[in-house]
Amino acid sequence: MAGQSKIEAYIRTEMAPTMPPPASTVGIVGWMRANLFSDWINTVLTLIGMYLVYITLQTVIDWAFIRAVWTGEDNKACLDKEVGFHVGACWAFVGSKFSQFVYGRYPLEERWRVDITFLVGAVGLAWMIIENAPYRKWVAIFMLALFPLMALILLTGGNFELSSGSWKAFSLLSIIALVGVAFVGVRAQTKGSDFDLSTALMIPAAILAYIFLAYFLVDFDFGMAPVETSQWGGLLVTLVVAITGIVASLPIGILLALGRRSEMPVVRMASVIFIEFWRGVPLITVLFMSSVMLPLFLPEGVNFDKLLRCLIGVALFSAAYMAEVVRGGLQAIPKGQYEGAMALGLPFWKMMGLIVLPQALKLVIPGIVNTFIGLFKDTTLVLIIGLFDLLGIIQLNVTADAKWFAPSVHNTGYVFAGLSFWIFCFGMSRYSIYMENKLHTGHKR
């Protein structure tokens, strides 16, 4: 017995209190030990990495802040021999030219129109991409249908003075189109198909009404001073070209991709030719062609707006790329999906719209955004046809304004251009990742 009680003295009657884990395995120290200094190779790599980060950051901060010049009227503020030290960034230059970088040569007293366009565009865009925002659908309709019109009228001043002849021609065409649809509908009905005439007429009627409205609005004199596109510049041109290209290329691209996979030979051939033609020529050639060659082929006195020519070129060019991206997505959809949709009795457009395209487009979001980002950066090429986009106007001021000639001005200008483009492209890329995460359904690793 005595032996037993002796043993009992060594048996715990209650749980020992849990000790905190060793200080070296928790918190920031533990994390660093586990991830940065786990063995000697990682330790060496970490130290090298930290050294690289240190010298990079030090150089950047030294250039961008410590040796930077923030205020000044001309290059005297940013010349080494005038200020007595080796000047880093010359932010004074960016400050004094900032409004030119944003608006180009847009007349000072009319710049509020650009501001309103930017503001409405930004608010509308934010509204559309924020989930759970109220009235999202209506905002989307506004942004797609009315905002382009509004931007066009605000930026150019509207009042295009369309001839009465074009009004008449347009009215005649629209009546013919409506009658045509009605005729086809009536025939289909007599054949006994369940073609619903009123809904079939609704869509073309809505489109025609929209075009009528657009026609009326651009013809209407709002009393704003006209501003020619040759006066636009800077961020304004970059955004106009990029957004038009992005917005136009997706629907055209989808149609082309469907056309290329169509079983109708004419549609297929037309799509293939279009895509291969536009993909086969460099964008520079397209722009050069639109600005230099096109005027030679037009009768004298007929002059398309240069920016408009460029917009059309960019939109068609990027649509061809988009078509191939979308086609990749369409090919990834198993045949069973098509068959299933057909088995349900869905007609072609419903099959595509409800079953195939939602899956296909979701798959190729990275590819689509890739094309968008590429397009955004390609807008800088418009410089070669004499349009001054953001990079172009910065380059113009850096290279041609003798008042601001200085080595530091030069570097600052290009760094600023790079930063601005990075912000936009990075924003697009983050949104695409957000969309992918939101829409991931079963194909995420």
């Binding site: 080494d80 510049g233 230099v292 060659m293 004298e300 002059n303 004499g386």
Partner: protein
């Protein structure tokens, strides 16, 4: 490659279209639309560059402003199209611009084969060299075996080849597409010599880290007379551009400036009276108002004023008049009299 083919095709098309595109009455068109459409460069300091507000200024721009003043009595009645070197002639041919005032060198080919006419010379330029002072070079003739920085595809490259080959000196060309890249390469020491048009040398020098360490050598190895260009076959418009430039030279010669033009109107000198339109109907003969001369001088200034305001010694460029001085002051700027 593609662009090269295109350029050739464009060239062919230009010569085809050239004959028909030369519309007869540019001046009437201009009066109808209410402004002069002017092709300028995409940015060349002192010739066509944006000011703080983004308005175009410069010597080439002032030619257009003078025409606006001559035709409409308002120098602001000129609009500008920025043109790249490649598209400039097509833009003029196709009627997109009425006048090309874009530091374009007057050469035989351009004057004869492209269906264009050069209306005069508003700046006599020539290719020069810049070197580091530390090299100890004082003449371009001492530059044997040098690495030379220049732009690709311009006449400067050919001029260098001509000059160096003539006396069998070795050299190496380091060529870049953009003037900016050339300057950076020169500044970083990738070459010993930087060559381009002398007017450009002065402006590019300001972009160097230490502008004072470099000198522009005295030799000029090419002739680059820069001037405005119009379409061939419209003599009325050609005359107006030509005489607008002559008028500004004559005004400098007679001492008429934008400041004293109002007093000069009552001057007793018949030559002054003629250029200001007090006497004679020279304006009417050109298809504009007789006070065209007064308007040009009042709003734009005489040639000397334009030179000084844009590229002269008091500007950052600080270019001396040199050969661009009046003939009476040792230069070669000479205008036929207005009488």
């Amino acid at each position: 490659m593609k662009t090269k083919i295109l350029a050739i095709a464009a060239g062919a098309a230009i010569s085809m279209v050239a004959a028909q595109a030369a519309s007869a009455a540019t001046l009437d068109d201009i009066k109808k639309k209410g402004h002069v459409q002017c092709g300028v460069s995409q940015g060349l300091a002192g010739f066509s560059n944006p000011d703080d507000k983004g308005n175009w200024t410069g010597m080439d721009v002032d030619v257009c402003r003078a025409l606006g003043a001559a035709i409409f009595g308002d120098a602001t009645k000129a609009k500008y199209t920025a043109l790249s070197a490649k598209e400039r002639f097509t833009a003029l041919q196709s009627g997109e611009v009425d006048l090309l005032s874009r530091n374009t060198t007057w050469t035989a080919t351009r004057d004869t084969a492209l269906g264009l006419n050069f209306a005069g010379v508003n700046y006599y330029d020539g290719q020069g060299f810049m070197v580091r002072k530390s090299l100890g070079v004082t003449s371009a003739l001492q530059l044997a075996g040098a690495a030379i920085c220049t732009n690709t595809g311009t006449t400067t490259e050919l001029n260098v080849a001509d000059g160096f080959r003539a006396d069998k000196r070795r050299y190496e060309v380091v060529a870049f597409e953009k003037a900016d890249e050339v300057v950076q390469a020169y500044d970083k020491g990738r070459c010993d010599v930087y060559t381009t048009d002398a007017s450009g040398l002065y402006s590019q020098r300001l972009k160097l880290a230490n502008a004072d360490d470099h000198i522009v050598l005295p030799e000029i190895i090419s002739k680059e007379p820069l001037g405005p260009v119009v379409r061939q076959g419209d003599d009325q418009w050609f005359n107006l551009v030509k005489w607008t430039m002559y008028l500004m030279l004559n005004a400098e010669e007679l001492g008429v400036t934008s400041k004293n033009v109002d007093e000069m109107k009552s001057s007793g000198n018949p030559a002054v009276k003629r250029i200001l339109g007090v006497e004679g109907n020279f304006g009417e003969n050109l298809g504009v108002g007789n006070d065209w001369g007064y308007n040009i001088i009042k709003q734009v200034g005489n040639y000397g004023e334009v030179f000084d305001a844009n590229v002269g010694p008091d500007t950052p460029l600080g270019i001396a008049r040199g050969v661009n001085a009046l003939w009476s002051k040792g230069g070669i700027q000479y205008a036929p009299p207005i009488r």
